[in-house]
Amino acid sequence: MRRLATLLRKDLRIELRNREGLTLILGHALLLSLIASFAVGSAFLNPLSTSRVFPGLVWMIFLFAATLCIGRSYDHELVSSAMDGIRLCGVPAELIYLSKVLGNFCLIFFSHVITLIVLGVLLNVPVGMGFLQLLLVSVPVIFAYAALATLLAAVAATSRLKGMLLPLILLPLVFPILISGIELFQGILESGALPLDAVWIPLLLVADVVYFVAGINLFPILLKD
């Protein structure tokens, strides 16, 4: 736990010093929210239809902004091989992966909360009482995304295509969790409560476990090759 805290503290210190990740993800999320609100506004949708397109827009914005941000999550480690320095301290690769997943999760979740609020206001969607439930559903979606994207970003970072490769290998694999997120958001906005009997919740939990277990087992192999 002490080593995990040290790794997280280092990432936080670097982020607070240059604010690259936060600027990138929040900048994209807010700009995309603005564009989405113009697009929806120009279609003159009624409030009910706007509420129905809201979940899809939120998760599309999440996908674009988070993928751009996560693509550079190894930049600081690889530019001068600092990751090798960490490995030479005897830190298990699994712990490095866990620290990256948690760091990425926090950054993406923060940006997602801001997007929910801003897009809700811009589209005049009455999120109101359902806001906490939307956040609750977002946790497993974003965790599954972070677990998968952190692993694939490591693959992309060492390829010749760098960040360009990440969306190509990531997007097909995140469809199930994004569809779950959209469907659960629809359910919450329509009924005002979390649809506990929906098939999407167990699907999300399975995705969380599968992606995280795959990541923690494959990351050490990637690191050594």
Binding site: L7, K10, G85, I86, R87, G90, K224, D225
Partner: protein, 229 residues
């Protein structure tokens, strides 16, 4: 101090990148208490051999053993300096050393004193000169107190004071029974302090010799000069 005899063994180590064979069946056996120079022309496989020795790269075939007595050495007992600094550009000199110290169990303050980094302790790594960065990278490589040290061209950016500190620190490792393996072209400055020389040629160990007093060599250094002309 190592809690047993330090030894490095390579058996038929081979490594290729794409279709290019870099190491082609390297056999090597070294014992503690020595500073060993690894020589070879550019592209002969020195850096790859050191990365495999430090367990940062997996060989395609062959066996690598880094032993402390009967057991395998842990990562904290191995020091390594590569071509890259292995530091964070956005952290200061102290923050970098403190970070790696917290992970490995060393003392950042002691390293700052040992490597004469007091004047730049609050400077960001990105703002350091090449020589200052080299000294900081070496300080990190000696965390926490390794018994086996692999250094890849450690003197290439160092000033005379930096070289003196390096010689003092590798001397300490050797005196305590540790092993120091240095890939270098800087024979003039290092040969007098080394006990053994290895010469790599086209991915194979071409020559090995124990050096005489003051770094005198009858076989290995003349051979290296002949292939590097």
């Amino acid at each position: 101090m190592p809690d047993g005899k330090v030894a490095l063994h390579f058996e038929e180590i081979a490594k290729a990148f794409s279709r290019q064979k870099v190491l082609n069946g390297v056999n090597l056996s070294l014992q503690g208490g020595e500073i060993v120079l690894l020589l070879g022309a550019n592209g002969s496989g020195k850096s790859t051999l050191l990365r495999i020795a430090a367990d940062l790269l997996r060989p395609d075939s062959g066996r690598r053993k880094v032993l402390l007595g009967e057991r395998n050495a842990t990562a904290q007992e191995v020091g390594y300096l590569g071509h890259n600094s292995m530091l964070y550009a956005d952290l200061s000199v102290y923050e970098n050393l403190a970070f790696f110290s917290q992970l490995s169990g060393g003392l950042a303050e002691a390293l700052i004193d040992a490597w004469a980094l007091q004047d730049i302790r609050n400077s960001l790594a990105r703002d350091l000169s090449k020589g200052q960065l080299a000294r900081l990278s070496l300080a990190r490589a000696f965390l926490p107190a390794p018994s086996i040290v692999f250094l890849d061209e450690p003197t290439s950016a160092l000033d005379e004071r930096g070289v003196q500190i390096l010689l003092r620190e590798i001397g300490k490792v050797r005196e305590l029974g540790g092993l120091v393996l240095i890939a270098t072209h800087d024979i003039a400055r290092l040969a007098a302090y080394a006990q053994r020389v290895l010469v790599l040629q086209q991915g194979k160990m071409a020559c090995e010799e124990a050096l005489g007093l003051g770094g005198s060599s009858a076989k290995a250094l003349p051979f290296y000069h002949s292939i590097n002309r």
